[in-house]
Point group: C2
Chain length 344, copies 2
Amino acid sequence: MNTNDKEKIKKSRRNSGAITLRDVAKLAGVAPITASRAVNTPGQVSPDVLKKVQDAIHRTGYVPNRVAGGLASSRSRLIAAVVPSIVVSVFVETIETLNNTLFEAGYQLMLGQTGYSAEREEALLEAIIGRRPDGIFLTGIMQSSKGRTRLLASGIPVVETWDLTPTPIDMLIGFSHSDIGREVANFLMAKGRRRFALVHAGDERASRRAASFKNTVAQRGFREIFVDNVGASRSLKSGREALSRILSQTPDVDAIFCSSDLLAMGVLTEAMARGIKVPRQLSIVGFGDVPYVADMVPTLTTVHINGSDIGRKAAGFLVARAQGLAVDKPIVDVGFAIVQRDSA
Amino acid sequence: MNTNDKEKIKKSRRNSGAITLRDVAKLAGVAPITASRAVNTPGQVSPDVLKKVQDAIHRTGYVPNRVAGGLASSRSRLIAAVVPSIVVSVFVETIETLNNTLFEAGYQLMLGQTGYSAEREEALLEAIIGRRPDGIFLTGIMQSSKGRTRLLASGIPVVETWDLTPTPIDMLIGFSHSDIGREVANFLMAKGRRRFALVHAGDERASRRAASFKNTVAQRGFREIFVDNVGASRSLKSGREALSRILSQTPDVDAIFCSSDLLAMGVLTEAMARGIKVPRQLSIVGFGDVPYVADMVPTLTTVHINGSDIGRKAAGFLVARAQGLAVDKPIVDVGFAIVQRDSA
DNA sequence: TTGAAAGCGCTAACAA
DNA sequence: TTGTTAGCGCTTTCAA
């Protein structure tokens, strides 16, 4: 931008110093709204004007202020995502795909982590609603009724994921945790296993899978199974320690279902370190099917969740809603699959 | 909110229907600016007024519109982060800590992924600057001079990370990739290794570590080493395949440095599958020190990067700058450490 | 301690 | 196709 251009730009007491659409319009010799149209809906503007505006933009290095645009149009082009944690790798693929799909459609992602804390979730919700995003992605079902009420009152499209419920706030993309527990139990029983144990983290969905597994096994008359809750420590190490505890209580255990692949890898590692043959003496099943477990030795039998698919579908739903379209069938069960590999 | 309250709220042609500060003020019987002060700087308001405003907020369920506030005050309380990808687990801890630290300080994180693509990075930058965030976190050094110019012109505080340069855009928190290559080479040579190979992904920083490793080894007169570039496929599987290729070219290889822990796990897995003794016949060194590699069998020797520390420091810098404070020593070398475990 | 006025930078609504 | 006007919901500035 040359000095001559600069002089044409009006100063005001409060302006932030950045180039505005008004500056561009003045330089191009048109009204601000015309410059706005040249930027946003170039088809509505004559080629002549379009060129003048584009020139002015180029000369000034103008970058539209989306905050102001968002305020004026009530469309922020922002989507908020709430995740327990991104170090829990099972959620990462969903967020990656959600983010990429949204970006292609011209939306930005705001990321919030609850750390599995209800209190934190509430603060996050307040912060999110305050930004007036065009949509909200939730990992899991919103349990707190206060949270549900706030979301409903905000009028912002919401997609709950990673679980099923008959009463979603709005849209839903998930799968059944109790079905998973039952199916894994059936799978292991069909393999002739009889002495079961569970290793799970202390979150509600993992507990639900565990409870369903336990019920299914109990219904078939097997003896009480050992349940090891590792709480918040979702590491490979806690999987190793869990197996140690299990073996000291029930040395004849022959099948273990873990609430994550990482815990399962821990159990597997400890088993190998102790010379326990997997799967001959002990079957191990994980959850999540994170990429590398298919290529380890031995490969891990696990429950596959299509995280990418959830992210992509959620992005599609939210973008459609943001654009005022009705979403057809906004409740989707994406299911799961038990992927049989070496460890069970 | 009861019907009586509702009637007091003025309707306008354009308003979005949500409760505004103006509604709250009217209900409380004060001016909007007074209600604003009651919300943001309660100390500046009499207890009596404070109570009336809080009551009105409670009755209406008012949530402040941060978009409008941001526009008026030129402080968005938004920080943008640019990452190559979050499925590359080495970046996840940094983002998690960055996000959590920012949230504590009242800031939200906007996440953008480049997928290691320059073109994508440019589009991302445009989208980010358009939101006028109070700060920008970059993974790596901004290589493109166009990008540097835009960032500089935007006036937004920037922290580049994960690398060092004598000419950062603004602030910098990183470590030296060429030092890492050199030190790992020295480490392996000191262990008496002579036949080296490299497995690295096709990004610039990994290539720099590899080049430095290669130089160091060459300076000591060892023969040309085999370099396997796996390109964009940073999986355990590509590590396994890389070892196969290396062995077919140089069967007597006795040390391999990988550009990520996941690739190293792949090499390790393939070695074990082939009955190659690690570390007796083959030393393997990874990069990143992601949590679980310390608890596998065998444990992985790797280069530790304190990702959490980078995230926390970056958040500190950005928040300080956003609040108009000067940042003391905004260029930090966080270093690295070779963590010796079983695999080398 | 409280308030009136005037924006922040943009777009919806209406008009020509 | 282009422009005028009046906001979006909040905060800065200045005044009382």
